[in-house]
């Protein structure tokens, strides 16, 4: 299989469709980000970080796309180990709870440059867990099962311990999708579901922080407390609604161009800026583009004959899909507020690199299935 890949020219293997779709949404996102940060003091530095992240991300994406993803099976373990150490590190020395708008201690600050270890952890997780599952599928052993469960659960526990419910859910969704494709029987899923409901109830009463509960409560009745989190989501919804069919135009959004109206408008709530300034047209265009990208990725997973590739693509795609659905959902008031950004659009360095890395890996799988 390795040999076959090398026989086909690079250009023929390269998944241009996916690359162009991602490029389009990134470009659109960058334009919106310019508008969203125009009124902010920190606007210029946000834009600078974003430009660097996009360029770096594109490079990482292309490099990964050209690599043979089979290496990740083994490299993944090392990468996984490293990210696990970082996740333990942030648990004790993490940073962010005291910063407004972050809410969880999930950041590491290295001489002013901040990044979230949970972002590389997503990639490492999706390199490693599928590899173990493939092993399990080929040769079912209890030891492998135990190892797989540990590898799948430990990062989730560590992230939930950081009080980062949103990111934890990203991992859970990715894991579920992989396990689903693995072919787990529906009755196990049902049993798992019952346990999950029980766990959720426990979490509600014992594990979740007040601010997390408030966010969920705010979803149920957003107009209730004007000062708090619901007020912010209300502002976001007002902004989107007032965009009407074609929007106010970039740099002209009444809510988008204020400071302190739409919360974290450069990141978590950038979709509200899209809704207000680009209207229904722009908001639907983003949904359409994201859906196309995700469908294209699932198509790659379906087409590949290699189980490892299929699991990995499914897992990464599900993570991206969850990001997308959760972010748009919270912007339009369908889902509770979490700090999950909108892929390829929200400002943010480490997240941006993670999306591009995921796309790079998916493209690598795509390339190998094309050559076979």
């Amino acid at each position: 299989m390795f040999n076959k890949i090398s026989n086909v020219s690079i250009l023929a293997k390269f998944d241009f469709v996916l690359f162009i779709l991602v490029g389009t949404i990134t470009a659109l996102g960058f334009v919106v980000l310019r508008s969203a940060t125009a009124s902010m003091n920190t606007g210029a530095s946000i834009i600078r970080t974003q430009i660097i992240s996009i360029i770096l991300g594109a490079v990482i994406c292309i490099v990964l796309a050209l690599l043979d993803y089979q290496y990740f099976k083994y490299l993944g373990y090392i990468f996984y180990g490293l990210t696990l150490l970082l996740l333990i590190y942030v648990l004790f020395f993490g940073y962010g709870r005291e910063v407004e708008g972050i809410g969880s201690n999930s950041w590491i600050s290295i001489s002013g440059f901040m990044f979230q270890p949970s972002e590389p952890a997503k990639i490492a997780y999706m390199m490693t867990v599928p590899a173990l599952l493939v092993k399990l599928k080929d040769d079912f052993r209890i030891s492998t099962l135990v190892l797989s469960i540990l590898a799948a659960v430990i990062p989730i526990v560590l992230i939930l311990l950081q009080s980062d419910l949103g990111t934890g859910t990203v991992f859970i969704v990715g894991l579920l999708a992989v396990v689903f494709i693995y072919g787990i029987k529906y009755r196990y899923l049902l049993i798992g579901g019952v346990f999950a409901v029980g766990a959720a109830a426990l979490a509600w009463f014992y594990l979740l922080d007040d601010y997390q509960i408030n966010r969920i409560k705010a979803l149920i009745n957003p107009m209730q407390d004007v000062e708090g989190i619901a007020y912010q989501t209300a502002k976001a919804r007002i902004a989107i609604g007032s965009g009407k069919f074609s929007g106010s135009g970039l740099f002209e959004g009444l809510q988008s161009q204020q400071n302190g109206a739409i919360p974290v408008k450069e990141s978590d709530f950038i979709y509200s800026v899209i809704g207000e300034e680009l209207g229904f047209l722009g908001a639907v265009a983003v949904i359409l583009l994201m859906t196309l990208i995700l469908l294209w990725c699932l198509r790659i997973a379906m087409k590949t004959q290699d189980k490892y590739g299929a699991f990995m693509v499914t897992g990464l795609t599900s993570m991206l899909a969850f990001h997308f659905i959760e972010n748009v959902g919270m912007n339009i008031g369908l889902l509770p507020v979490t700090g999950i950004p909108l892929p390829f659009i929200s400002a943010g360095g480490s997240a941006m690199l993670m999306y591009f890395a995921a796309i790079g890996i998916i493209m690598s799988v795509s390339a190998s299935s094309r050559s076979s």
Partner: protein, 714 residues
């Protein structure tokens, strides 16, 4: 396909979930944006968050008896917020605003006119062409590319007209108003946002506000914000002590973290020294309003807190008497022009009155003076221009002579020389020792003269030291000084703090200079001669002290050697009247013998009875100890000497000490009447002079109930 088979293709299920989610989101968006879009738009236009600062009113300043000197008045400032998205509407609104302001004679910000004049339409001649080109290219402002830089104001004006979409229907004048305002917006465009605001006019008239509110539907986005601004009563007499306030400059901003660019700050006097107490704490407010700045709901905020109130030790009655007497005396001396000693050039002076028991400054005047109120009623540019003139011109009214002027003490230094001789252990001077004045004395090849002998041919004979003080015989003090030596004299002058800042609570105080070996060596790198000691002994040579130092010195002579730290602010209270700070009497004790004290006291008392100031204090009901001083300035050929007088009273139980100085005041005794008037006011003895007592310090009952918010027009 059977359902079971569909479920078997698990990818298909994932795809279905994704597509259904996407469809669900699109449906929700359709509902929000298409169905309820108009509804949300209306809500949105009323959900604009405006955040702004509320500048705290400054603390009030009272005199000793609670008369209000500095207070606050309500004023209205105009701000613009971004309410328009179309240039046409904005331009029409701005023009209307300018016309209202112009018709009511209100000033507003017109920084464009720093570069282009309206009539004639030329570049501002005060700015060099390079500056104007630089300004045109400034990327924060007009950002005109180098090749397109305009060489004439008319071309630039045409360019701006186009840039700001000012339609041809407007006349030239109208277009200028619009462009001028648009330029203000451009300059502050980072704050000219929805919910943001920029200031375009300060302290506008109520007529303007009325007209704007009537035309509200045509002039959108104008916000009126109330603010308390400094106002002074009739305070010209106390200008130098009180000081004044003004807009913070870029330089001051650097040294003062926590200030904003448009804050008001104390510039001099008490207003500057106690800035931190007077300033108060600014409040801020976050409100929800419409795009035009109308407040609909207060979201959060912090009320402003007025600054602390100060009570001065200055007694305004005494202060006014001191100033009026000083100015009256100066003009009297001028009118006595004789071309020999008096060249009619007396023009300035200072007086300080100090409580000898506490160190309170009861009066401190410096003439000529200025009106602090002028500085708060004029714009920055005129203030800058005026300050240049006021600092440079003859008479420099901005200068507080009482703490910043150094004057040669002349004979007022003689008590120190007497103390030095009396206290020197190696010498045997006492109250009975006679010193011979035989008119003329040669020492170290230097001839010393008695002034009276040289002028009138008579001598004082053998007299005691206290008699020496009374007659102020130079020869006696030359002898005493040369006997005691310069080191002794200098030691005693230092003991009275004459080369130190007194530590009064005012900025920019300077220290005096004592003539001694150290000073001569350090300044001129020259050796000290006995002739220098001779000159120093009669308060000449390098000796020069500030009036406040002299006042502390006179007070120490009066109170048995307590060198006080003078102060002006007696008490600081908060709005509820609780005391934040209370001044305390601080001093250093000078050790000297009772006999010396008696000699000085006797000598100085007889100055006003039989001595150099006896004519002034003829039959005065209170015993006053004084000493006149006529300080040669070295330009006696065509300039009068400076006149100085120090005194304290009553002699038995001294209460106040006074220093009066008149520049080119001819004789020390000429300045003594000022001190006498002050004493008469203090002790309530008025004979020949009638002062109007009913002068009005403008007292305002401050409205305690202030509006906590600064709402836009209702």
């Amino acid at each position: 396909m059977k359902v079971v088979e569909i479920l078997k293709n698990r990818y298909f299920i994932l795809i279905m979930v994704l597509v259904l989610c996407s469809i669900g989101m699109v449906i929700k968006l359709y509902d929000m944006q298409i169905v309820k879009g108009d509804e949300y738009s209306i809500i949105s236009s009323k959900k604009v968050t405006h955040s702004f600062e509320i500048e705290a009113p400054r603390g009030l300043i009272y005199d000793k008896d609670g008369r209000l000197l500095a207070y606050n008045r309500e004023s209205n400032d105009l701000y613009l917020t971004k309410a328009y998205t179309e240039d046409e509407e904005l331009n029409a609104g701005l023009l209307m605003l300018c016309e209202i302001l112009e018709s009511n004679g209100d000033t507003y910000y017109r920084s464009l006119e720093n570069y282009i004049l309206r009539n004639p339409n030329v570049f501002n001649p005060n700015k060099s062409l390079e500056k104007i080109i630089e300004w045109q290219m400034d990327d924060e402002l007009l950002n005109i590319p180098e090749k397109d830089v305009k060489n004439s104001a008319k071309e630039l004006f045409a360019y701006l007209r186009k840039k700001f979409n000012v339609s041809d229907q407007y006349t030239y004048d109208e277009a200028f108003y619009i462009i001028s305002m648009r330029y203000e917006i451009l300059k502050n465009r980072w704050n000219y946002t929805t919910g943001g605001r920029i200031k375009v006019a300060a302290d506008v008239s109520l007529e303007t506000i009325g007209e704007i509110s009537e035309l509200r539907h045509l002039i959108k986005g104008v916000i009126v914000q109330k603010k308390m601004v400094r106002e002074y009563g009739n305070v010209m007499d106390i200008a130098h002590v009180l000081g004044y306030v003004g807009n913070i400059t870029a330089e001051e901003l650097k040294d003062r973290p926590g200030y904003n660019g448009d804050d008001i700050i104390g510039k001099s006097g008490i207003e500057l020294y106690y800035e931190d107490y007077l300033r108060g704490t600014d409040g801020h407010l976050q409100v929800e309003g419409d795009t035009e700045g109308r407040i609909l709901q207060v979201l959060s905020g912090l009320g402003e807190e007025q600054g602390y109130n100060l009570r001065l030790s200055i007694d305004m009655d005494l202060q006014r008497v001191a100033m009026e007497s000083l100015e009256k005396r100066i003009s009297e001396i001028r009118s006595k022009y004789d071309g020999e000693a008096n060249f009619g050039d007396a023009h300035a002076g200072a007086a300080v009155v100090i409580d000898v028991k506490t160190g309170e400054v009861l009066a401190m005047v410096s003439s000529p003076t200025y009106d602090p109120g002028w500085f708060i009623h004029n714009d920055e540019e005129s203030i800058e221009k005026r300050l240049e003139v006021m600092f440079d011109s003859y008479g420099t009214p901005m200068f507080n002579r009482a703490i910043q002027g150094r004057y040669t003490p002349g004979s007022t230094y003689k008590p120190i020389v007497a103390i030095a001789a009396l206290e020197a252990e190696e010498l045997e001077y006492d109250s009975e020792t006679l010193v011979l004045c035989d008119g003329k004395w040669t020492y170290d090849d230097w001839i010393y003269w008695c002034y009276e002998y040289r002028e009138f041919g008579w001598t004082h004979g053998a007299i005691t030291i206290s008699k020496g003080l009374e007659t102020s015989c130079n020869l006696v003090f030359h002898k005493l000084g040369l006997d005691a030596g310069i080191d002794n004299i200098s030691k005693w002058a230092k003991a009275f703090g004459l080369d130190l800042k007194t530590g009064i609570d005012l900025n920019d105080e300077i220290a005096g200079i004592i003539a001694n070996k150290e000073y001569k060596y350090l300044t001129f790198n020259e050796k000290w001669w006995s002739a220098d000691t001779g000159q120093s002994s009669i308060g000449q040579l390098y000796n020069s002290f500030t009036p406040i130092e002299m006042a502390v010195y006179a007070a120490a002579l009066a109170n048995g050697g307590k060198r006080l730290v003078p102060y002006i602010v007696d008490e600081i209270t908060d709005e509820s009247g609780s005391i934040i700070y209370k001044a305390e009497t601080r001093y250093e004790q000078i050790e000297w013998s009772e006999e010396t004290k008696r000699v000085i006291s006797e000598g100085m008392s007889s100055v006003t009875l039989d001595g150099t100031a006896s004519k002034v204090f003829d039959d005065y009901p209170i015993a006053v100890a004084g000493k006149t001083g006529t300080a040669e300035t070295g330009r006696e050929a065509d300039e009068s000497s400076n006149g100085i007088f120090i005194c304290y009273a009553p002699v038995d139980d001294p209460q106040i000490a006074i220093v009066t100085v008149i520049e080119n005041g001819v004789w020390g005794s000429y300045t003594a009447p000022v001190a006498k008037d002050i004493l008469s006011e203090y002790f309530g003895i008025w004979s020949e002079l009638e002062w109007e007592k009913d002068y009005s310090i403008f007292i305002m009952e401050m409205e305690k109930e202030r509006q906590p918010l600064a709402p836009a027009l209702q």
